[in-house]
C-alpha cells in the first residue's frame, strides 16, 4: 500500500482521529482495490458546533468565509450547464444539511468528455485539468440545485477517481485539480474537506476522472 501523507500534521497518527485544542482532525483513508492504487488524504476541520448561522447576517460576509458567488465572478469562472437527471440517477440528493453529489465525469468546456488513462494517454497535468473540469461541473450542479453557491457551508468529503494504469501513483496530484478549484471558490476553511484519491481500472466512456462528493449546506 502506498500512502501519500505529506500534508499530515506531525502530531497525528495516520490511522486515527485526534483532538488538538478544540480542532478536530479527520483522517480519511480509503483502501479501494483498484489497480493497486491507494492514497490517503488528510484535512482539518475547525467548525464550532455551537454557532448556528443567523439568517440576519449576510451569508459568507466575513473574511474567513468569502462569498463563493463573488469569488466565481472575481476568478472569471464560467460554469458549464448542470448535469440533468436521468431515469436511474439524479445529480444531487439533499438530506437535511447534506448534499450528496453523484459522480461527475471530466468534460471539456465544449461539453465533450475528456478521455484517456492518466499516466498513459494523459499526463498528470492533463489529468489535473480534467479534475478541475469535474469541479466546475460539480459546482454547476450545486448551484443549479441550491440557487446559490453561498448556500454551501463546506466540503465534507470527496472521492476522486482517476482512470489510470496499475503502476500509477499520482492520484492525489491529479485530484488536486478539483480540490484547488474548490479552495479557490470557497476558501480554505470551507473548500478543503476529507478526501480519498484513488485509481480505477476503468471509468464510464473511458473518462479520465470521475469525482463524487458530500457537502454541508445551509438549509
Amino acid at each position: 500500500m502506498h500512502a501519500s501523507s505529506s500534508s499530515l500534521p506531525s502530531s497525528l497518527s495516520p490511522n486515527g482521529t485526534k483532538r488538538t485544542g478544540g480542532t478536530r482532525l479527520f483522517v480519511a483513508a480509503t483502501c479501494l482495490l483498484a489497480g493497486g492504487c491507494i492514497s490517503v488524504d488528510v484535512t482539518r476541520e475547525s467548525r464550532t458546533s455551537s454557532s448556528p448561522s443567523t439568517r440576519e447576517q449576510p451569508k459568507a460576509a466575513t473574511p474567513a468565509a468569502p462569498s463563493a458567488e463573488a469569488r466565481l465572478v472575481e476568478l472569471g469562472i464560467k460554469l458549464p450547464e448542470a448535469n440533468k437527471p436521468s431515469a436511474t440517477l439524479t445529480p444531487i440528493v439533499i438530506v437535511g444539511n447534506f448534499a450528496f453529489v453523484s459522480g461527475h465525469t471530466s468534460r471539456a468546456a465544449d461539453g465533450k468528455s475528456i478521455t484517456g488513462r492518466v499516466g498513459e494517454e494523459l499526463t498528470v497535468a492533463q489529468g489535473k485539468d480534467a479534475a478541475r473540469q469535474v469541479g466546475l461541473s460539480v459546482l454547476a450542479t450545486l448551484k443549479n440545485e441550491l440557487g446559490s453557491l453561498d448556500r454551501v457551508k463546506r466540503v465534507v468529503k470527496v472521492l476522486g477517481m482517476v482512470n489510470c494504469p496499475a503502476g500509477f501513483k499520482e492520484q492525489p496530484q491529479v485530484i488536486n485539480g478539483f480540490s484547488e478549484l474548490l479552495i479557490d471558490v470557497f476558501g480554505k476553511e470551507r473548500g478543503l474537506g476529507a478526501r480519498s484519491a484513488v485509481g480505477m481500472s476503468s471509468l464510464p466512456g473511458n473518462v479520465a476522472v470521475e469525482i463524487e462528493g458530500v457537502f454541508e449546506i445551509e438549509r
Binding site: T90, V101, R117, P204, G205
Partner: protein, 170 residues
Amino acid sequence: MSGPDSQSEPHQQFVNMSAESRLKELNLQLPPAPKPVAVYKPVVVVGNTCYVSGHGPLKPDKTMMTGVVGKDVDLAGGQAAARQCGLAILATVRNELGSLDRVKRLVKTLGMVNTAADFYDHPKVINGFSELMRDVFGEDAGVGARSAVGMGPLPGNISVEVECIFELNG
C-alpha cells in the same frame, strides 16, 4: 421487466404502494441476508441515515455471480449481477430494519463493476441495480445520486459490488 431499456416500467403502476407491497407485487425473491465476510457491519444507522456496506451479487443459493464484465460476462450478465447486488441489499436492509417500509429514499449509490480496462459501459451495468431500486421504492424515492465506476479486481472476482446510503423515515 427484462432490462434497462424496457419502456413499460412496473414502478409506474405502484406509485402509491409501500416498498414491501411492491416487492410482493413484483414477485421478487430476496437472497438470505448476507453475513459479513470480514471485519465490518452490513449496515450502520446514524440518525436517519442508513449506510450500507458493499454488497456482492449474492444469489438465493448463497453463491455469488462472478467474472469480469466485458470479458467473462456480457453486459446483460453484468446488469443481472448489479440487480442481484440490489436484492442482497434489500435483504440486508429488511433484516436490519425489520421492514423496507422504513426507507424514505435512496440517497446515493456507489456501483463498482469488475471490468477489463477497455470496458466503458459501467452506467448501463449499474442500471440493473438502479432500476430495481426505482421499482421497489418508486420513481422519486428510488432514484438517488450515483457513481458507476470500474474496479479491478473485486473480492472473490465478483462481477459487481454496490454500496449505498438510504434515508430512513424519522
